[in-house]
Amino acid sequence: MKSRTRSFFRNLWRGGRIDRELDDELRAFVDMTVDEKKAAGLGEEEARRHALVELGGLDQVKERVRDVRAGALVDQVRQDLVYSVRLLRKHAGFTAITVGTIALGIGSSTAIFSVVDTVLFRPLPYAHPDSLVKFCGTGPRDLACDDDFLPAELERLREQRDVFEHVAADDGTGATVVRPDGTRETLGVGLVTTNWLSTLGVRPAIGRDFAGQEGQPGFDRVVILTNDYWRRHFNSNTSVVGGTLTFDGMAHTVIGVLPPNVLRFYADVLKPLVTTTYSDNSLDLIARLRPGVTPARATLRTETVGRQLETDLPASNRSRRLTLRPLGKYYATVQRKAEQGLILMLGAVGVVLLIACANVANLMLARAGARRRESTLRAALGASRGRLVRQFLLESLLLFVAGGAVGMLVARLSIDWLSALAISGGYVPERMFVATDARVLGFSLLLSLATGLLFGLGPAIQASRVDLNAGLRESTQTLTNDVRRGRARRLLIVTELALSLVLLAGFGLLIRSFERVYTTSGGFDPDNVIVTDSDGGRSFPEAMTFWRAAVERARAIPGVASVALTSRPPVHGARRQRFAIDARSPVPPDEPPEAGDILISADYFRTLRIPLLKGRAFTEADSETSPPVAVISESLARRYFGKTDPIGRRISVLEQAPMTCCVTPRPVEGVWREVVGVVGDVRQRNVDEAPAVTIYRPYAQIVEHDMYLVLRASTTADAGRIVGALRSQLITVDTRRDWWNIRAMWEVIRESESIRLRRFVLILLGSFAAMAMVLAAVGIYGVASSIVVERTKEIGIRMALGATRTVVLRQMLREMLTLAAGGLIVGSAVALGLARLIRTMLFGVTATDGVTYFAVSVLLCGIVVLATCLPARRAMRIDPMVALRYD
């Protein structure tokens, strides 16, 4: 008895808030019963016993109440769900089209999202990325991060132990791997200090990190593979750890494999950086702040160190200010170029998704019309408005979730293709792996649910809006609902057309730009031109001999029209160098003039067909022993000599001092050269960039060991043949020297940054625009069809009254084209507004390019006409008698 009372009270305190309320209610019941019994004369104990007996099993009562409470909603939802599934299965055609449309939208969104997410949104894959910083030297004017440091500077920063917990350095280099079949392959080697990974807080996925002594000379024959290299070359085989990898003729022990997506620079393997023997000057420095050290304090300390270095190591620090940046922010800046394209793609795919959703909403509205009788019947049988909305909403959620699931499949299938495309376009660092993981899955699910709710609610409310009297009568007369529904559907069509136009216009503008970029000469003639490069050797006489022999050998190849040498062919960029102009120059003193510095042989301009505008080109007579000369580009002449004649004036390129260990070479005054000629501007880096001012110098007067051989073939057929056989012919010049990158100039242009960046955007935007067009066509077809059905009677009457089929068709077309016009006007306005966003990607066309907008509008109108004519033909075949009897 006592225990029962106790268990009663114990049970009272179990369960959630609703349960507690129920407990309170029941306790009140018991208490009141007790009061009642006591009033009837029973003692406290006796009264309570009676009361509990009367209640009859507290748990049973609670259980039954809970069933009633929870059961109601769950039951209804379950019923609705079963009903929805049954309906969707019954209308398999509708379901398939809808699910397919949604899958297309959500699948492409998910695929793009996973790429963008990998590159832009994910936090750096390092432990506590907020306390990681990167050291930068900034020049007096530019804000770019100059990250070329010396081992001595690394040591100096490492001494600041109270501020920096770790300071680490890295540099990239290349190595050659000889395959078993004798082919050579370049291996990207990341040189990192042994504490580099631990500074970032990255642990190898397999194996171990570098040990401290592996940074000592002679102990550095160990490598850690990047995840990507491991996957591609070792099939993700874990037994590779402990094995050896031979490159540059040396065997290295593989001690570990990195997790994916750790590196933000190109490398296949990591190798310890031996600071004591490092003789270059291009270390990237990073550090982890000690806990509690604020970025402001760290910056202050860094600047103090920088000032000390200005006196201690003036060669490399005089002209720069040492500072630091949060690592995350630094990478964000580096990615900015890719960011614009990627965000654009995200926007474009969002538009496709919108169109897909509009189509689905359209389909559902059409179905809501067809289901009017069903809704009315259910309402008459007592279903509440809320219940009806819930039912329709559940259906659309089901559709969207199913579409999302299929969409995931679409994304999964397209993601490899997409990431390969993104990598080739330079949007995703080559070593990054685009994954479909829980994050992407979550995005897809959220997107499905959100779009399902958003685009399901309207049609659901529409469908549940029933008029019991009108709805039950089998009547095809136009009801207010139909009018409202029709208006909504027409609005959706206008929206779809507008959105399609935006995508198509963007695509049109970009493809016109692409065409211009592609056909722009860039100041030279790339047809039949072949380039290749080699290393001629460090010493001047050795290199001269080699290059002279190489030119002779190349000239002898049948089909070669002319041959030249250069330090950098067009589209390969150019080293920028400071220069000075003789006393009469109008150069502002605070702005040291800079120009691209290119060394060339006598036939260079002729070989590349760069026009000589004034004076003369170099000849074989311009040699080591003859007076120093230079040729300048048109833009340099205009900018620095104005209207005066530059021929005969003197110019001096500030030379790099020869490299020695631990001292950064700085420009020193070079020899004064007489300007002997002016040539046309050449787009030296990207064909869509403004031409840079350039100074050409004869290679015979200042030879470099690394040069390019440029050949012009007589015919295209010759060019193709020469590319294939060139290496075997040139290798005979000096078998110790190899020839690299033998490519047709067109190939170089195709793979240049500007073309690659554009190609990615174009291919994707083209695909999206095509999808948008197909979806819009389907949508218009659907609306036109339903108009025909809705108007069967009207058309019948009109035809009975003598309207010809052409009149009927014309009327349909007029109606749809009016919608199209609305869509095109709205779309053009939006597109013009948005074109600003892609202005930097336009080349040779303006954002308001009339031709593009006209062409795109004509195309869309064509689609509208086509999508209208098919159902309209059905309308024309309507037999007036049948139509009138239809009711």
């Binding site: 009140a28 009061d35 009367e54 099993g57 009562v61 039954r64």
Partner: protein, 110 residues
């Protein structure tokens, strides 16, 4: 009469609604009033009463709020909603028809 022995759900619902038509009441009060208006014919056990109350509330015919009883005890008070009042009318009509039909059926056979 025990609820298990055939007090139809609809009957209990109607009785509860009827009991509340004179004013809001708590669980025990409703049970006692049902007893009263049926002249002691139906004794409603908590095991039927509370699930019925919650079901009626779920259906929107009753609303509930916490109040204080005459003995100064906190209790949950149920009140008829507008829909509930309307429901009594239709239910009463239905019940009248059934009762009349039953009565005539019984009169016929006996």
């Amino acid at each position: 009469m025990a609820p298990r022995t055939g007090l139809m759900q609809g009957t209990l619902d109607l009785l509860i609604l009827r009991a509340l038509s004179v004013g809001p009441n708590h669980g025990l009060g409703i049970a006692r009033r049902v007893q009263q208006i049926t002249r002691g014919a139906f004794e409603v056990k908590p095991g039927s009463l509370f699930p019925a109350l919650h079901r009626l509330e779920e259906q929107g015919w009753l609303s509930a709020e916490w109040g204080e009883s005459e003995n100064r005890r906190r209790a949950k008070y149920y009140r008829l909603t507008k829909a509930g009042r309307k429901h009594i009318e239709t239910e009463t009509a239905t019940w009248d028809r059934i009762a009349a039909a039953m009565a005539s059926a019984i009169a016929e056979t006996s």
